[in-house]
Amino acid sequence: MSDSVIIARHLSKVVDAPEAKLTILDDVSLSIARGGSVAIVGASGSGKSTLLSLLAGLDLPSSGEVILAGQSLATLDEDQRAALRAEQVGFVFQSFQLLDSLNALENVMLPLELEGRRDAAERSRQLLERVGLGHRLSHYPRQLSGGEQQRVAIARAFASEPAILFADEPTGNLDAVTGAHITDLLFELNREQGTTLVMVTHDARLAERCAAALHLEAGRLKEDQP
């Protein structure tokens, strides 16, 4: 456990709903080892995405603590958390989140350009070739299929060599065959770069490929956890 890259202690998230307070996460504690792969699984509304957003520092818990890459997120303000994300974290989303106004190459370059890296274009080109899109560099997202868009998103996620990759239903918008290809790609890159992978999914087969799975039910982790 000493090599845990993500530690969560007693996380709770409560939001104001129209009639009463709604508890989305209830006292969740976990730890994820460096280089590992963990699937967060559960039914719709079980709090998977909320847990992911708390672990990634996109949102703050109502109570409890997250330690990401050795830093307690509670002690960081929003901009410091952003800086931590820039350094350590990559994302892959269900809805790809590519910018419509940028072409494939430019979408991948974006995080590198934010870092100010001079080799942004070269490295992005390599990554796009690695994901099999070397011939579609100047295509805009609307000119790409769903699977191709997700491959661009994966190239972008790995561009800044993150220590941790968060993936939110990465195959959720894709058909089974394409989804399988994307999954393969994700795991290959994960292995090559030694990234810690945290994946939200309700696809059981995808979850099985991860080293561990956390089952969420109504905001609580089920007891049969490792």
């Binding site: 949102d59 929003e78 994300r85 994302f91 910018l99 106004s101 350009e113």
Partner: protein, 833 residues
């Protein structure tokens, strides 16, 4: 930090541009800058052109006058400032032939006279005119035709002025600086300054005006003026285009006000377009902002990246706009070349400054507030798309934008009351319009609930977000309001001017009619078909004291009061108040208790300048005797209408026993000018003054103004359409998505087309209704507080404007939403996901 982000921001900007994201915003900014630059260029040049015309009335850009010869250093400094210059000496003297004598006003001019405008001469009375290329040769004079009649002379004969004998080489038909005081004018003689010593008329103590005329570039004149003003002594007077001549002054002023107002409308409209497109830009970039944050950019840096893009866009738009505005102004001037003065002066740097300032104010004031929301996008939006940032306190920034705009407006109009009237009228109207729009929308929504599907869909679009729809109605309402206000002002201001100067405005003044000749003169006017104003008795007299104190102590230098006391006033008495005079204070004679005291009614502006009020005792010296009169009323006088008007009107009997002549003005159609010859023969002592030429000059100016106004209106319209399309663009995304959805559900294109048309027609009609309400309010405020005109409601517009709004916006809306009807639903559903 900025240095590091600048290249990235430029790259992002370039990519956004390539992807076509920025075109609407750039267009809006571009048009804002273009419109204000073009209008500013055009009005600047036109104003300079009109100032040139006004300068013709002075014969120069600036005139320095004195009772004594002007110091040599005044001339030297004019030369040092590379100004054109010439000397002139005015005086009255008896001129004579072998048989007759006549008091004449003589103007001895130096070479280069006039510096502005032209002198026209003819070889016989009422003969063909030609423009004089020089001044009279030494030894010769040009005289007014009527002097020929009086003295029984012909062209070529000799005229005596003092000891000099000068040959009459031509008849003087037009001199540019004639339009001064009609009442004191005796026939004009124009002579060469070189002949002046030979006349020996000008002796120490003679009543003479020495004048120095100067002309040149504005900067040179300004420098000269600054040097000169502190050196002027009390008897020396500086007159420039801006402060000379009532008639031209007020026409110019109104023209400036109007053009300024049109510019304001265009700038406000363009600002609205910028705000709308910036808002669309912002809402389309929430995802980008969230993603940047997610990728580790700080809130500050994200915002900085967007602001740098905005700034870059602003700079590009401003440069393009300045250039396009400059081009457009040239095109405009080219189109109007036959109607504009041929030598329209070049514009100064001001239009470029105004254009850039408009770009900056529009960008920061209207573009910034929506963009600031981009800094508040939560990174969590990448997971939960429904998270849109809260609207911040944009009030402060809109307040700043409004203040900036106010400054711009003030700059445009140079008229603070008008600027304030427009701003407060506009703000009040916006508030009223906004709430009213919201109420109307809800009312019509309730009414349409049971209407057909197309109606429900159309009004549903508006009712879905009533606040947004009210905002749109407000935006369109403002455009229509501006257009309506301009339309109303255009017609009514011009009507007001035209009403003051109708085609049958008096075009001749007749002075020095002997009281005994009055019946015969009336008859003679009837005979030649002239229509005459009443005949007023005129007695020259001087105001010497107010309540026993010498009048000099009451006036400050350069005030109208000073002008009035420096010379003989034309005093009159009348039993009736002249029809276009208005009593501001006090009562007319018949409403006052009978009294043995003499009473006098004073013109309002002069009264203010002299600090004279009701009950004050004025002393006049008339023909060597002192006459006392009590101020019993203060009159507003319309000086623009070329009928006889007087600073001082005495009660009947007050001037009894004083020598007087009669004065009137009359209209004689141009084709009956032959009658003038008979008139001057029958009444040789009468002085006849033709104001036709002056009127024509004034009409020319009004025509130019009308023209400018109409073309400026085109720019305003252009700005209006930008807003229209910008606001359509702003809602296009959701429309496309919903249109696709409806078509997926089986809606026919006809239905969608109908719903769109109904939606925008409803929007247009409501906007039109609000526009006319607001326009009435704004014009009332303007008329009441800035333009000083009588206001009446415009009932026909109450029907026309909503109808025009429905048609215009209905058509443009259908045009702008064609894509909703035409694009493939499948594609849209895919994209909307």
């Amino acid at each position: 930090m900025i240095g590091r982000d600048l290249p990235l921001a430029s790259r992002l900007l370039l990519r956004e541009w390539r992807a076509g994201e920025l075109r609407v915003m750039l267009l809006a900014l571009l048009i804002a800058v273009l419109v204000s630059t073009a209008i500013s260029f055009f009005t600047d040049r036109l104003q300079r052109g009109m100032a040139t015309r006004a300068a013709e009335f002075l014969g120069a850009d600036m005139r320095i006058s004195s009772r004594e010869p002007l110091p040599q250093e005044f001339l030297q400094e004019a030369i040092n400032n590379s100004l054109q210059h010439t000397d002139m000496v005015d005086f009255s003297s008896v001129t004579s032939s072998d048989m007759e004598m006549q008091l004449s006003s003589i103007k001895a001019v130096g070479p280069d006279y006039p510096l502005r405008g032209e002198v026209r001469i003819a070889q016989q009375a009422f003969g063909a005119e030609q423009v004089a290329t020089d001044i009279p040769d030494a030894g010769s004079v040009w005289i007014e035709p009527r002097l020929l009649n009086v003295l029984g002379l012909e062209v070529g004969d000799t005229l005596e002025i003092g000891y000099a004998q000068l040959r009459i080489s031509a008849l003087l038909t037009h001199e540019p600086d004639r339009a001064g005081d009609f009442y004191s004018l005796t026939p004009r003689v124009l002579m060469n300054l070189a002949d002046l010593p030979a006349t020996r008329v000008v002796q120490p103590g003679s009543r003479v005006r020495y004048r120095l005329l100067v002309s040149g570039s504005e900067a040179d004149l300004q420098r000269y003026r600054q040097w000169l003003e502190p050196r002027l002594e009390s008897h020396q007077r500086l007159t420039s285009v801006a402060d000379d001549n009532r008639q031209i002054g007020s026409a110019l002023q109104r023209a400036n006000q109007f053009l300024g107002l049109a510019s304001i409308a265009a700038v406000v409209l363009a600002g609205v377009a910028v705000a709308l497109s910036a808002s669309r830009f912002a809402s389309r970039h929430y995802d980008t902002s969230a993603l940047l944050r997610c990728l580790g950019a700080s809130r500050q840096r994200t915002l900085r990246l967007f602001l740098l893009q905005l700034l870059g866009l602003g700079i590009i738009a401003t440069l393009l706009g300045l250039f396009a505005g400059w081009l457009m102004q040239w095109g405009l001037i080219h189109l109007l070349r036959d109607l504009l003065p041929p030598d329209l002066p070049a514009a100064g740097p001001k239009p470029l400054l105004v254009g850039s300032a408009t770009g900056l104010v529009g960008l920061l004031g209207f573009g910034l507030p929506p963009l600031l929301r981009l800094g508040r996008v939560s990174p969590l939006r990448v997971l939960r798309r429904e998270l849109t940032p809260l609207p911040g306190s944009a009030w402060l920034i809109y307040g700043l934008a409004l203040s900036g705009l106010s400054l711009l407006m003030w700059q445009f109009t140079g008229n603070l009351p008008m600027t304030l009237a427009v701003i407060f009228g506009g703000a009040l109207a916006a508030l009223l319009l906004g709430s009213l729009a919201w109420l109307l929308l809800r009312a019509s929504g309730n009414r349409l609930r049971n209407a057909g599907l197309a109606w429900r869909l159309g009004s549903g679009q508006l009712l879905k977000q009533p606040a947004a729809a009210a905002g749109q109605i407000l935006a369109f309402g403002l455009i229509l309001m501006s257009m309506v206000v301009i339309f109303i002002l255009r017609t009514e201001l011009l009507d007001a001017w035209q009403a003051q100067l109708p085609e049958d405005a008096p075009n001749h003044f007749a002075l020095n009619i002997l009281p005994a000749e009055e019946p015969a003169f009336r008859q003679a006017l009837d005979d030649i078909g002239a229509r005459s104003a009443p005949l007023y008795p005129v007695t020259p007299g001087r105001l010497t004291a107010i309540n026993g104190e010498p009048v000099r102590e009451h006036v400050t230098k350069d005030s109208p009061g000073e002008r009035a006391i420096n010379r003989d006033l034309s005093l009159t008495w009348a039993s009736e108040l002249a029809p276009d005079n208005l009593l501001r204070e006090g009562l007319w004679w018949e409403q006052l208790p009978p009294s043995d005291e003499h009473r006098v009614s004073v013109e309002a502006e002069l009264a203010d300048s002299l600090g004279v009020g009701l009950g004050d005792q004025l002393s006049f010296v008339i023909g060597g005797a002192t006459v006392e009169a009590e101020v019993s009323s203060i009159r507003e006088v319309n000086w623009d209408n070329f009928t006889p008007n007087f600073y001082m009107v005495f009660s009947p009997g007050a001037l009894e026993g004083q020598p007087s002549t009669l004065l009137t003005s009359f209209h004689l159609p141009a084709d009956q000018r032959d009658g003038l010859r008979e008139l001057t023969r029958a009444f040789p002592a009468m002085t006849l003054l033709e104001v036709e030429a002056i009127l024509q000059q004034l009409r020319d100016i009004l025509d130019q103004v009308t023209l400018a106004v109409e073309y400026v209106l085109i720019f305003v319209l252009l700005a209006g359409f930008t807003v229209l399309f910008a606001s359509l663009q702003a809602t296009l995304d959701t429309r496309l998505y919903e249109g696709a959805l409806l078509r997926t559900l089986g809606a026919r294109r006809q239905l969608l087309r109908q719903a769109n048309r109904l939606e925008f027609s409803l929007l247009g009609a409501l906007a039109g209704l609000l526009a006319i309400v607001a326009a009435e309010l704004v014009t009332w405020l303007l008329y009441r507080f800035a333009l000083d005109l009588a206001w009446q409601p415009h009932f026909s517009l109450w029907l026309l404007v909503p109808l025009a709004g429905a048609l215009l916006i209905g058509f443009a809306g259908a045009l702008g939403t064609r894509a909703v009807v035409n694009q493939s639903p499948m594609k849209l559903i895919n994209r909307g996901a």
